[in-house]
Symmetry: C2
Subunit: 270 residues, 2 copies
């Protein structure tokens, strides 16, 4: 056995629940990509109830970047539709705590900072549709390169709700034209995890001047016989919340997602 | 009333059957685009039974350019699935008769040339999916310009069956990227009328060197913020049959399609 290679592979669990319980027990403390194949992972945002209605309205106005999978009652750490025993205070291994827009702590448990007015939002993430694209045989260059998907702020404005507004952030995957058409078909089946692309082929039209300078993530090559294909990205709500500077807020740390009991296949609309 | 403008508009019939009966009675002798909104129109190919099996196999191997809506029994002029009283010998106003690959006549009735071994093939046509695109608010430049859609021979080979083989012909419609994505979604619902595009954005990859030089139809402008989007085209089987030079064959004349009783909406798969 080659321990060096093996250590590159994520530990794989048989279900979302097993992965989540391993995280809760602090047995799994690394990023969650690939740890529970077939199960939905989500982005987390936790806000005081005083801002929660505006944020939910923001998500409903901007469903492509902000597809809501579940929201909690104020103060309730459970999200039963995502897992019967899910506790949002313990089931992610790295959280970020923000005050007035400043990152004040990264923690592995929220019991110390929990409040009775906190509302949790879990938003769909691209892992779900990428799994469907890979199963269809489409190449995902950032995965093949072991890097993060490149993400860009665009000139596409989101629809404002209260203090929440800002540009849409998109992720980019290079695909050959016939594969891009297939990717539109496949991701159209998954509206709750960003759905179909929002743009392809002409980055300047959405305010992206240089594909080699992503605003988040890593650069990936776009080859001569490929088109850049752009999907609405879950970094959009993170950036919008940061800009709104709520007095208190919690998010997951990038890459450390909430692993749920939902199957990716259950999100397909046809 | 302005007779000059009015004469530019096609006569519109309330159903496919009414349009077809007007054609049979020689009351309607002009092209069929737009004459029966909502109803399926088809391309016609009639071949001797000795070649019919290979041609049907060709269509089944190449469903995107050759989507079969109906075939007849040898010698039978009826196609009941397309219209209870349909008679393929009288229900198109302009036919082309071919012998050994040469056009020998354009006729408005087939009774004089009918044979007991003739098999009719009706193939889906882009009018059906264009109607769905227009209903969705997408601009179709060739329609707005009153011209024919531009068509190109490509470097995409069809799958051979017996004597039938040759390059795929595609039609091109320029669309802004977000509209191109919507067009993929809409036309994916209509696999029996060419379905999703086969290519977009990079014409050189499919052997098209100059969009301003279509092999059939008219030039249309592709603007800076548009992508050329390419669909498999019903001219493919026409060109493949011409190249195979059957001893006898009949087709519709371009633009003079078979109008059926099927509704376009009935072809949508979801």
């Amino acid at each position: 056995m080659n321990a060096g290679i093996q250590s590159m592979q994520p530990r794989v669990y048989a279900s979302g629940r097993e992965a989540r319980l391993a995280i809760r027990r602090r047995e799994h403390e690394s990023p969650t990509a690939g740890i529970a194949p077939g199960f939905v992972q989500g982005n987390l945002a936790i806000l005081p109830a005083s801002m929660a209605h505006d944020f939910l309205r923001f998500c409903q106005l901007n469903p492509k970047p902000c597809p809501v999978l579940a929201t909690s009652a104020p103060g309730d750490p459970r999200l039963r539709s995502l897992g019967a025993d899910l506790d949002i205070r313990s089931d992610i291994s790295r959280y970020r705590v923000w005050r007035h827009g400043e990152l004040v702590a990264e923690v592995s448990d929220l019991h110390q900072v929990w409040r009775d007015d906190l509302v949790s939002f879990v938003l769909g993430c691209s892992f779900s549709f990428e799994e469907a694209l890979v199963e269809a045989g489409l190449p995902m260059r950032h995965i093949d390169c072991g890097s993060n998907v490149p993400m860009y702020r665009t000139s596409i404005a989101t629809q404002r709700a209260g203090p929440f507004h800002g540009p849409m952030v998109v992720s980019m995957r290079p695909l050959r034209p016939a594969d891009a058409i297939r990717a539109v078909q496949i991701t159209s089946r998954f509206p709750s995890v960003h759905g179909a692309p929002v743009h392809l082929g002409l980055p300047g039209m959405i305010g992206i001047q240089d594909l080699a300078q992503p605003d988040y993530g890593d650069v990936v090559e776009v080859r001569a016989e490929e088109l850049p294909v752009f999907w609405a990205c879950g970094v959009t709500p993170q950036a919008v919340i940061a800009a709104a500077k709520p007095e208190f807020c919690i998010t997951h740390a990038p890459g450390y997602m909430l692993v749920t009991d939902l199957r990716n296949s259950s999100l397909a609309i046809f």
